[in-house]
């Protein structure tokens, strides 16, 4: 029985539409035992939807699903669990008011005489994190964690289910190198145990590292399934975007566009224990990269500049003038913008229409006689939607029903439309597909070339290296290194600098 031949999962001709919007069109998809199967495609191609059908969150309109050869009806998450499917959700399935351990074992709680043993759950969680090579206190409330740790908790939660099929929907979108490596070695071990893994990612290098086969979706249709060794990266990208992609990850020297004028200067900026005496100068036209390990204080630094956090000491000056940013609205009036780290909690009102989200910081420009003009709102929104190629059924649709990557584009679009002088971006390309990522990076360069200044946080070093003119490495809340782009020979060099070895 256990030596079943053939695919462990087979999805045949799966179709699904939301209202009148067809999202999946007769998609075939199958996974072998012990295989890591990558699922790729543009934002909104239907990857998450296909997987949610497998997990019982959505119901397919037509098609059939076979598990180990026998046909199953997956009507809810329960029946999915019963047939051994577990999932790492892209938009997280965590309860903020519960602890990490409580979340990991939700619906799976270890009990004795009917009572939950939280201490057992905690020690199990600690072990789990050890195998993931993550140092995280499972007694912490999830709501107090930064995005990256949410993601790790989400992964741990899926692992704890003892599933024989594990779906991972962009598990590394918010993770840096170190955590990603931990996850990969774990995946290798799971594979050896005969567990099948479906791996969704926009990062080509990751897919090459771990996947055996790849399936590419475009506009709800399957366009490619193949073993990876039979494909070149260019072929995959072409399948994903439908054309040849440009080489956006190459670094261009753009020093002629950088003036000597200092737009932003921080002197000894301190905020609690997370930011300690940071001084930096940002020149007009410059793109400044911030690198560092998780928890090194990069997010806090930007948040302090933006007025979300109050500095405990130190100064912020813009164009040589000292300013006080008591709140983001002060920062915005100083023409600063911040694309925050967590799009769902910090970037969007998920329940509101895309138009409303896009125009929230722009209201002043969209009034006629003091009143908002729906026409102008719609026009402006359509402009932004077009520029950032946000894929949606209708501009009035709720932003929460967009695909993950498209939500991120809304956040980016909303902030770039404010035409800021200083643009700060915290992991702006998390979850954005490979085609658009390039376009966003090109846009960042264009914006800088037009005399704006940019600070960029990214845990994807190739991305950081490709656009930055200078990179600051942060460690424990301090700037441990300031590197000119030209001084950095390759990615490994930067990685070592981040780890503090060089």
């Amino acid at each position: 029985m256990s030596k079943e031949l053939g695919p462990v999962i087979e999805m045949r001709e799966i179709s699904k539409s939301f209202g009148s919007n067809p999202v999946l069109k007769a998609v075939d998809f199958s996974v072998e035992v012990g295989e890591v199967h990558a699922l790729a495609g543009e934002n909104g191609a239907g990857k998450s939807t296909l997987m949610k059908i497998l997990q019982g969150v959505y119901q397919k309109d037509s098609g059939s699903i076979y598990i180990s050869g026998s046909k199953v009806e997956i009507t809810d998450t329960f029946s999915a669990k019963k047939v051994g499917i577990g999932m790492v959700f892209q938009e997280f399935s965590l309860i903020p008011s519960l602890t990490v351990a409580q979340n990991i074992f939700l619906t799976n709680e270890p009990t004795k005489y009917g009572l939950i043993r939280d201490s057992k759950a905690k020690s199990l969680a600690t072990e789990l994190f050890k195998t993931m090579e993550v140092d995280l206190d499972p007694g912490r409330l999830v709501e107090s964690l930064p995005t990256a740790l949410w993601q790790l908790t989400e992964i741990a939660k899926a692992l704890a289910q003892d599933a024989k099929i594990l779906i991972m929907d962009e598990p590394t979108a918010s993770l840096a190198k170190h955590e990603t490596e931990g996850l990969f070695s774990l995946i290798q071990r799971l594979k050896k145990k005969g567990i099948s893994i479906i791996y969704i990612s926009h990062r080509m290098d990751e897919i090459y590292r771990i996947a055996d086969r790849i399936t590419v979706l475009r506009d709800g249709s399957r366009v490619l399934t193949s073993r990876l060794e039979d494909l070149t990266p260019e072929k995959i990208v072409e399948a994903i975007v439908g054309r040849e992609a440009s080489a956006h990850l190459l670094h261009h020297d753009r020093s002629e566009n950088i003036s000597e004028e200092i737009v932003l200067e921080l002197e000894n900026l301190t905020c609690g224990s997370k930011v300690q005496g940071v001084s930096l100068k940002l020149r007009r036209g410059e793109i400044l990269g911030l690198a560092g390990l998780m928890g090194s204080g990069r997010t806090e630094l930007l948040n302090t500049v933006f007025g979300v956090l109050r500095p405990t000491s130190g100064t912020i000056s813009i164009n040589g003038k000292r300013i006080r940013n008591n709140s983001p609205s002060d920062a915005i009036s100083n023409r600063i913008a911040l694309i925050p780290e967590d799009r769902r909690s910090q970037g969007l009102v998920l329940d509101h229409a895309v138009t409303e989200n896009l125009t929230l910081p722009l209201i002043d420009q969209l009034t006629v006689a003091g009143l908002l003009s729906s026409k102008k709102v719609l026009k402006k929104s359509q402009e932004i939607i077009k520029q950032f190629e946000i894929k949606l059924a209708h501009p009035e649709i709720k932003v929460g029903s967009l695909s993950g990557g498209n939500q991120q584009r809304v956040v980016i679009g909303k902030w770039l439309a404010t035409d800021p002088e200083i643009l700060m971006m915290d992991e702006p390309t998390a979850g954005v597909d490979i085609g658009t990522k390039g376009e966003i990076l090109d846009l960042v360069r264009t914006i800088a070339n037009s005399g704006k200044s940019i600070i960029l946080i990214s845990s994807e070093l190739p991305e950081l290296l490709s656009v930055s003119d200078r990179i600051l490495v942060m460690k424990d809340g301090r700037v441990s290194k300031s590197l000119d782009r030209k001084e950095i020979p390759n990615e490994e060099y930067l990685q070592l600098a981040i780890q503090g070895a060089s």
């Binding site: 910090q346 409303e356 929230l360 009034t367 908002l372």
Partner: protein
């Protein structure tokens, strides 16, 4: 082709019409027609009677419009009823001591100040509005009783009574002018101004709104202050109608007001605000009361049927 583009927005709008949020209009029409048929001999559709329904729900409507903002910002205000009572009392006392205009100013100030205190605590000390305004509810009733020794304060000023009570401006009862003004301004500000947008953003996602430059604390402060102001105006309308100020005017209105707002399609969890819906919610409740009384039902029967209608209306609004 041109035809298609012309129809497309209407069609897509219809498709996106949210039954759940707009159930109030359907329920309203259904109940109205039902009563019109059942009560055709009892004068239900008599213009006078319809006018009376509007008139009697005016105070709830005014409070509901302001409450729509509070709830859209994901807060709540339980003190509206007692602000109305206190304001009626203060207006009445001030008119008899200092005259019409100071009286109106005093009444309105009471509401704004009470609202500002709650608002300040909620906005800057970040304490739950449910508890703050519940405390305020008791406190203000106590104050109103204290300064009046629980007695009514009569209002003799005929101008006041004309403006806030039963007067007319030409053929139009002044009370309709108040309601029209409040609902009109309320709806425009909610849908067409920056402030309205900021209120909904604050209620929809406090953190994201803050990151987008919305001064969320200030928004919360202002909506609670406005709610106090709206309640004060309602109190003054009570005083005009009943020609006196009394601490009891408005007692218990908080639940009716919140019910009107939620029936109108505003979510208790914030982010949405339907001012026109709140108007219909308030009038809907008045309609039911009026119809059931005209039917000659007992108090207990009225309660049963009213409860059942609300449950039914809400149940029909379910997501299909």
């Amino acid at each position: 082709m041109s035809n298609q583009t012309a129809f497309a927005p209407i069609l897509s709008r219809l498709k996106r019409f949210e039954w759940r949020q707009n159930i109030i209009y359907i329920a309203f029409v259904a109940v109205f027609l039902l009563f019109a048929v059942l009560l055709r001999d009892s004068g239900f559709t008599n213009p006078n009677n319809l006018m009376n329904i509007l008139r009697q729900t005016a105070t709830i409507t005014v409070m509901a419009v302001a409450m729509t903002y509070v709830i859209a910002a994901a807060e709540i205000d339980l003190s509206v009823g007692s602000i109305a009572g206190l304001s009626s009392v203060v207006t009445a006392m001030s008119i008899s001591s200092w005259g019409l205009v100071p009286g109106i100013m005093a009444g309105l100030s009471v509401g704004l100040v009470a609202g500002a205190i709650s608002g300040g605590l909620v906005a800057w000390l970040k304490v739950p509005s449910f508890l703050v305004t519940l405390g305020m509810l008791g406190l203000l009733v106590g104050v109103a009783r204290w300064i009046t020794a629980s007695a009514p304060i009569p209002i003799a000023d005929q101008t006041y009574i004309a403006i806030f009570g039963g007067g007319q401006l030409g053929p139009v009862p002044t009370i309709f002018i108040w309601v029209t003004l409040v609902v009109g301004i309320g709806a425009i500000v909610m849908n067409k101004t920056k402030f309205g947008r900021h209120v909904r953003a604050t209620g929809g996602n406090l953190v994201a709104a803050g990151y987008t430059g919305v001064k969320t604390a200030r928004v919360k402060f202002i909506v609670l202050m406005l709610s106090g102001g709206g309640a004060a105006l309602a109190g003054m309308l009570y005083a005009g109608r009943l020609q006196s100020g009394r601490f009891q005017w408005g007692t218990g209105d908080e639940l009716s007001v919140i019910a009107a707002v939620i029936l109108g399609g505003t979510s208790l969890f914030g982010g949405r605000g339907q001012v026109i819906g709140s108007l219909f919610g308030a009038v809907f409740i008045g309609l039911i009361n009026n119809g059931l009384i005209l039917m000659g039902l007992d108090v207990s029967q009225q309660q049963v049927v009213r409860g059942a209608i609300i449950i039914l209306a809400v149940a029909l609004s379910r997501k299909k």
